[in-house]
């Protein structure tokens, strides 16, 4: 997690607007589809869940692993990018 992906930088660099859930770092097409099935179709919905969990990365990672079947790295990447986005724009 020391290095960040291009996707991470793209997401953290600007307001998320109406970006799809797959714009989140660590969420690819398959995980995005699983999340969409549960109603998490936009990135801001996932952000809402992240905020509901009080920006607790650990709990959020647990949730994301349960909800989408993401592995620890993917969930951690998503949590990191949401946290950094919140630091910049919230």
């Amino acid at each position: 997690m020391s290095t960040t992906s291009q996707k991470h930088r793209d997401f953290v660099g600007e307001p998320m607007g109406d970006k799809p859930v797959t714009a989140l770092s660590g969420i690819g097409e398959i995980l995005g589809k699983k999340l969409e099935q549960q109603g998490f179709d936009k990135a801001f919905v996932v952000l809402g869940q992240f905020l509901l969990l009080k920006k607790d990365s650990e709990i959020f990672v647990e949730w994301l692993k349960d909800a989408s079947g993401a592995n620890s790295r993917q969930a951690g990447s998503c949590a990191q990018c949401l946290r950094e986005w919140c630091d910049s724009f919230l």
Binding site: Q49, L52, L53, K54, I59, E62, W63, K65, D66
Partner: protein, 296 residues
Amino acid sequence: MPLFEEDPAHLSKSRLKSDLVAHSVALPPAQSKKDVYVELHLKHIDQKNAADFSSDEEDQVRDVADKEEDAEDAEIPDPSGLTDDDLKAALLEHGFKAGPIVASTRAVYEKKLRKLLQPDGQDHLNGAEKGVVYSDSEEEDEEEEEGSQGAKEETVERSDQTQQESSQLSQEPVKDTFKDMFPDTQATPTGIHATRRKPIKGAAGRPIQYVYPDTPASPTTQERRAVERRLVPIQIQILVFLIVVVLLYLIYACVEDNSFSPFVALLESLNQGSDGEEGLLLPAETQDTPALSGQE
């Protein structure tokens, strides 16, 4: 042993609580409703009474096992049965400040509570996740353990073979395993080896296996050693002294030749001056002499 059965549902909450405590059953969270207590009461205390009445030994054993399981269950109240507020309170009891518990977050918080209730990490539910988190070390450890156990089993099997066959061929592998670790020990048919205790300090006539470095020196000797370490050997000292003497002599010789020359020159000039005066006098004399000679 109570002679009459009381319906736990008719007991007061405090009475239920005290009964549960008396039977060393873990109490549910403080905010739990009476139903929870009644349930626990039915589960543990009534079962125990039933066990008391039954004379069948096997049944008792099974009951005890059941009770242990129940005790474990009671230690971990099912978070899914709690209300949102209870769940939040239970999490707070364990030092975790939960956010709003809504439909989408409840499952996560239930899981968190389960995890908090089992800090030992022996939960089979969380075992897989923890395995992922600590996969590296754990897997290695398990592999090592399995390997060592396998090795042990192998040696045991082989030693059995030696007992049965009493042939030297099967004794070889036994040696292989232990020869590496204890090259001095002899292979025994049982595979059990007694290793001699190693001498600690070579006491009682045993050979000294480890010699301690010199006993700690006193400060003065240490100082002396330090000084000695700083000093150069005596031969080099003499050599340097001789070189210095030679240099000084050479300088002295050069100085004698050259730098006294001003004085020598002065003395010579003085001598020359006196010579010059003499030279001046001489012509006067020569001048005088002709006059004298002319007078003559």
